[in-house]
Point group: C2
Chain length 221, copies 2
DNA sequence: CGAATAGTGTCTGTGAGACAGTATTCT
DNA sequence: AGAATACTGTCTCACAGACACTATTCG
């Protein structure tokens, strides 16, 4: 009974999220091999134990090699498994979500990439619809008490842009003054010397994240 | 380059949590095979694609077959992977946490099971210390806004017992009247006809969860 | 000037902690 | 009666939303 020898397929899939026109978009890529060749799906690939020190490393490698992307925030979502999800047989896919600014994706459009606003990010092959919806659920919950939405923005951003990022992820409008108050008290962002005038009537102060990585708050934003 | 054929080991590990003497305990089992034979570790085993429809099913099967346990709540934590975590080579383990009442574990002590209070649940083999600490982190966070701690209790429980479960998971005392108020408003539990007098001076109303599964609150408890 | 966005000050409602006080059972 | 736990009522403070108000730039 060498059941240990029957080893399932292990893959990674990355839900790449970005912000475009104040809406969250999912980045998908046209598949060049079967199954589902020619269809758009999540960016994903096999885990290669010889070169990937972990599934997180595999996700970063796949993202880089297949799509030329480096997420500003890459976190594990959960693992999806079973016989039904892939026609090649029983498989397990460790799903990640990756956040990055719109510009980073726009530079790589030549790689068969497409950005789908959330309401059009359905009908994806495999169980990718489920993965996307779980990723959004997780991000929405996490957004309420962390600096997660900031990773959808370029390094330098205004408080308004940050609020719009939170609003896009949370799916609801936030109170402007309360938001400024809280973001200020939480000390998660720090002002930059420069100013931005572009695209707004009155120039606004630019900020950046105080710490390079995501921080969680004790209160809700 | 048939790199797809090199498939890593896929296992499940379950962090079984229960409540004993008002403290959270982790259930560990003595290993009967190498590596680390004779040492206590998390309950775990290989995923068997032929019989497990998913990793969740594998976790439930391993829990049942190896420990005779059925968790009242079994949820996926995350996947741990890499070369270092298991001497047999590159492996991925999908970790779950399972909650159940003390009595359920006590019935199965013959199966080389042991309950460790949190402060003594260290020095476990593999990366099981990390898995335990991540599981607790997740449960603590989830406890604050869900009915999770109720799954550490028998079906029927008093409000005091429920509060103690929350306190044990959260690691801090909760205000009694505020707790009753909130639990009441959240309508997560419903009263049972019976009363319990055992172990307390004044008999207390017994309750059960209104819904069989975990519910999340809009506010914090 | 008016439009538009940036940014501030203040009021108010709600919810959670604190805590006193009442209720019920046991020894 | 007194101990012990169950349960209730009320005060207060902090925080989030609402919203009015000022500030700065552009056309």
């Amino acid at each position: 009974m060498n059941q240990e020898l029957i080893r399932p397929i292990l893959t990674v899939d990355i839900v790449v999220l970005t912000l475009h026109e104040q809406r969250v978009h999912v980045v998908v890529q046209k598949r060049d091999k079967p199954p589902h060749a020619g269809h758009f799906a999540l960016i994903g690939g096999y885990v290669r134990p010889e070169e990937d020190v972990s599934t997180a490393a595999a996700a970063a490698r796949v993202l880089r090699d297949k799509a030329g992307l480096t997420a500003r925030l890459l976190e594990q979502l959960m693992t999806f498994s079973g016989t039904e999800r892939d026609p090649r047989g029983w498989s397990a896919s460790v799903a990640y979500y990756g956040l990055l600014p719109y510009q980073d994706v726009a530079q790589q459009v030549r790689r068969n990439l497409k950005m789908l606003p959330l309401d059009r990010a359905t009908g994806l092959p495999f169980d990718h619809d489920t993965i996307v919806s779980k990723a959004l659920e997780r991000c929405r919950r996490r957004a309420a008490y962390s600096s997660l939405p900031a990773f959808l923005l370029p390094i330098a951003f205004t408080q308004s842009a940050l609020r719009h990022a939170y609003e896009a992820v949370l799916g609801r409008a936030l109170n402007d003054s309360a938001f400024r108050r809280k973001i200020d008290e939480l000390r998660v962002i720090e002002p930059l010397a420069g100013n931005v005038s572009k695209a707004t009537a009155r120039p606004a102060q630019l900020y950046r994240l105080g710490r390079g990585h995501i921080v969680e708050f004790d209160r809700t934003v």
